[in-house]
Structure formats: C-alpha cells, structure tokens
C-alpha cells in the first residue's frame, strides 16, 4: 500500500495506528477475556491502550501493521459517521419471535405495558388530533391500547418480529401492521403526524440513522415521542455477573448490552434534526425472587443479549456464584432482589415555520436581575380574594 501515507499517519497523530494494532501487541490490563466492542472487521481490533511514539520496537511494528491494514482505514473513518455494528439483529428477531410464541407471553408484558402507558400519557399531553401515526417497534401493541381513536385516527404498526405482530393486542384504533426493521423504515418522507416508539430503540445499531429516518417520515411540525431503556439499566445484573465471572473464571464477557446515556440523547436527536427537545428519565425498579427469575423474565420479554461479542454460555459455577453475589449485594430484607430499569423518554419535533422561535438576540427589554420582582398579572387579584 501507500507507504508515504502510512508514514505520515505515524509521524503525525498516530491516532489511526492506535486503532489498528494486530492482536499480539494488544494487552488487556484488567480483563483477559473481555473482548472490545467488535466492529465489522473481524481482524482489526479496536484498542485504546497507551501507545508511545518513542518506543521504537512498537513503532516499527505498528508501521508494518498500518501498511498492511491501510485498506481498512476508509471503513474505519466512515464509521466515525456513527454506523456501529454491535447487535445481531437477526438474533434479536429470533428472540422476539420465540418470546411471543410462548404460551404465557402476556405474563412478561408488565414492563412494556407500563412504559407504553406512560408514552401514551405523553401523547395526550399534546392537544391535537393525529390523523396518521406510526409505532416503531410496537411489539404486541403496547401503546395503542392506551390511546383512543379521537386522538390517533389511523395507526401503522411496525416490528421486526412477525409473531409479535400476529399476536398483537387489539385496540380501537384502525391499524395496519408492517413487518419492518426499525433501522430501515419503508415509508415515504413526510407521511406521519406522529411517531411513537416504546422499548425497542435500545437494540438498534445505528441510532443516529434511525432518528434521522424517523425525522424524515414525519410531516413538518410532526412529533416523535419515544421511550427506550438506557443509562444504568440492569446494573445489578451486570455487576453481579461481572464479579462472579471475574472470581470464578478470571475475566468477564459482556452479558448486559451497552446503553445510551441520557446526556447523549439530546445531542443525538438534535443531530437528527429534531427541535424543541424534551428528554426525561424514569426509574422503574422491579423486585424479583432471585437472579434466575430476572433472567427468565428478560428472556420472556425477548430482551436476551444479542451483542455480536456475547458469550454463548454461562458456566454453572458462575451462575451459582452470580446468584449468591446478587442476593448478598442487592438483596432486600424480605429476600427479594431489585432490578432497575432506567427509561429514557424523548420528545422531538420536526421543524416548521409555525413553531415558536427564539427571540432575536438583543430584543429583550427586561433584565434577568429583575426576574424575582416580576409578578404574574393574575396573582395579586387571587391573593386579594383569599
């Protein structure tokens, strides 16, 4: 490949080379089994350990590696655009299909029903009738059952799992099902007045892209109301499995997937072109008898791990150890263990000229110092009346 370019990269920033180590030079100080987030290139390993320019041995080696791996650099730099490949979407489809075929599948709906109800509540906050709405990742139709047809007149439901769509709960809103991946919405731009989504966006590889697509299919002045798990969700399960694997096997694998932080959500939505953003967090804690019930329920919800770098099995010793640790570290007095779900809600609007704009800079005529002295016009009258 082009030697001049590879030399410039090493001499200059060396930031590319840092990512392009071959496996033998990679050292993992803490966790020997932990594999970094795998990008789509199987043979290039993302490594963030320290790289010293003054180390000649490493330098010459990395120069060699760089020259050999130049072909990957384009893909890497395009990945900075936001296309990650963390989740096995096909596996997720299978898991959801399997879960919705369970004879007692409605038993595992409690969390989705609750979040769906809260999303529907936010739809009611907007004093408007929506002629055409879209539910992205509807599952078994958990939002629409809390909505009335005076608010949403027609509804499109999409999900990646055909079994979930077949088993969907009925609602009074005339609806139509479309089997579609949330990452590739098959709708024309400027179609919907409202897009809702509940508990499905956290399995999407390309979240910025998905937001962009949702923004596209919305009509101008349309609104997107979504909910997804994120933040510190399931930290109890994550910690106890990590500790158990560390103590039993000497390293840990990712069992609970990476989540979007609430601080990033606003930026993501802003970048996708939404305006007037509202983001808020809700914490739902569910109490279970033990770790196995947590995992069984997650499986029943179709929320099993589907990261590409997941481990295919959990050793029985590790499971026993994790159960003991979970109980000891997080157990309540009554013997139950909590599992925390952090639900991130987001509301964003597609821009339209009728929407309120920030006032022109310098147009204000009241100082912020006087804010405390300002009184709303009606308040003195009301206090007189009392």
């Amino acid at each position: 490949m082009n030697n001049a370019i590879s030399k410039r990269l090493i001499g200059g920033g060396s930031c590319m080379c840092r990512r392009l180590y071959s496996t033998p030079t990679v050292r993992y100080p803490a966790a020997p089994q932990a594999t970094p987030v795998r990008l789509s290139q199987g043979d290039a390993v993302a490594d963030w350990s320290h790289f010293h320019n003054n180390n000649n041995g490493l330098l010459s080696l990395s120069q060699h590696v760089c020259a050999a791996r130049m072909s990957h650099q384009k893909t890497f730099s395009s990945m900075a655009g936001g296309t990650m490949n963390v989740f096995d979407r096909n596996m997720k489809r299978k898991q959801k299909n399997w879960a919705s075929m369970l004879p007692d599948t409605q038993k595992y709906d409690y969390l989705r029903d609750e979040v769906g109800r809260r999303v529907a509540d936010r739809v009611y906050d907007i004093a408007r009738t929506f002629p055409l709405a879209l539910d992205v990742g509807c599952g078994r139709n958990h939002i629409a059952e809390h909505l009335s047809k005076d608010i949403v007149e027609r509804l499109f439901l999409t999900d990646i799992s055909e079994n979930a769509l077949k088993q969907k709960k009925e609602s009074e809103i005339p609806s139509r099902c479309v089997l579609a991946d949330e990452e590739f919405l098959p709708f024309r731009a400027n179609t919907f007045d409202l897009v809702v989504s509940s508990m499905s966006l956290h399995w999407i590889n390309d979240l910025p892209g998905a937001f962009r697509q949702i923004q596209q299919v919305l009509k101008p002045d349309g609104v997107f109301i979504g909910a997804m798990v994120g933040g510190e969700t399931l930290y109890e399960l994550r910690c106890s499995l990590q500790l158990a694997e560390l103590e039993r096997e000497g390293g840990f694998a990712p069992h609970v997937s990476p989540y979007t932080a609430v601080t990033d959500l606003g930026n993501l939505m802003g970048r996708a072109g939404f305006t007037m953003l509202t983001v808020d967090v809700d914490e739902i804690q569910v109490h279970y008898p033990g770790i196995l019930e947590v995992m069984k329920d997650l499986q029943g919800m179709g929320e099993s791990n589907c990261a590409w770098n997941r481990k295919s099995m959990l050793h029985r010793d590790t499971l026993l150890a994790a159960a003991a640790i979970y109980q000891e570290m997080y157990g309540q007095e009554d013997g139950s263990v909590p599992a925390t779900f952090e639900i991130l809600y987001m509301i964003g609007w597609k821009p339209h000229e009728s929407q309120a704009k920030p006032a022109r800079r310098g147009s204000g005529n009241v100082s912020f110092d006087e804010l405390g002295k300002l009184t709303p016009p009606s308040s003195p009258a009301r206090s007189k009346g009392q």
Binding site: A244, L246, E247, P289, A321, A324, I325
Partner: protein, 70 residues
C-alpha cells in the same frame, strides 16, 4: 404435551435452582460477602480469591440436589 427431551429436563433443573439455593443461605451469604468486600476495599478481585467459600457453597448445593433427588 411434548415428550421430555434435553431441553425440558434442563429447564426442570433450572426451575429447582432457587429453592436449592435457598437451602444454602449461609454459604451463599459468606461467598457473597467475600466477593462484595473487594468492591469496597483496595483489594483487587482475582480469580479464586474466594475459592474456599465457593467450594463450601458448591458442596452444600450438591448435597441439596442429592437430597431433593428424583
């Protein structure tokens, strides 16, 4: 009803897991304390740091399985 196979058998075993673990409450607590102590102190968690506690827990668990037997 479907016949018993390896999946139904292993699910049956997993279903009994919580009650078996409940029989080893003190051993589980001892092991859990040993591991969770490392999260608060400077001591780094290493492989087999709590091997003795785990052996006790496992032995108790195995006894419970036998006692519960088929």
């Amino acid at each position: 009803m479907s016949a018993t196979n390896v999946w139904t058998r292993s699910r049956e075993r997993m279903r009994r897991f919580p009650e078996l673990l409940a029989q080893c409450g003190s051993e589980a607590a001892a092991y859990g304390k040993c591991v969770s102590a490392t999260t608060k102190s400077k001591q780094e968690l290493q492989r087999d740091l709590c091997a003795a506690e785990f052996t006790a827990l496992k032995r108790c668990f195995a006894t419970a399985v036998k006692k519960g037997g088929k």
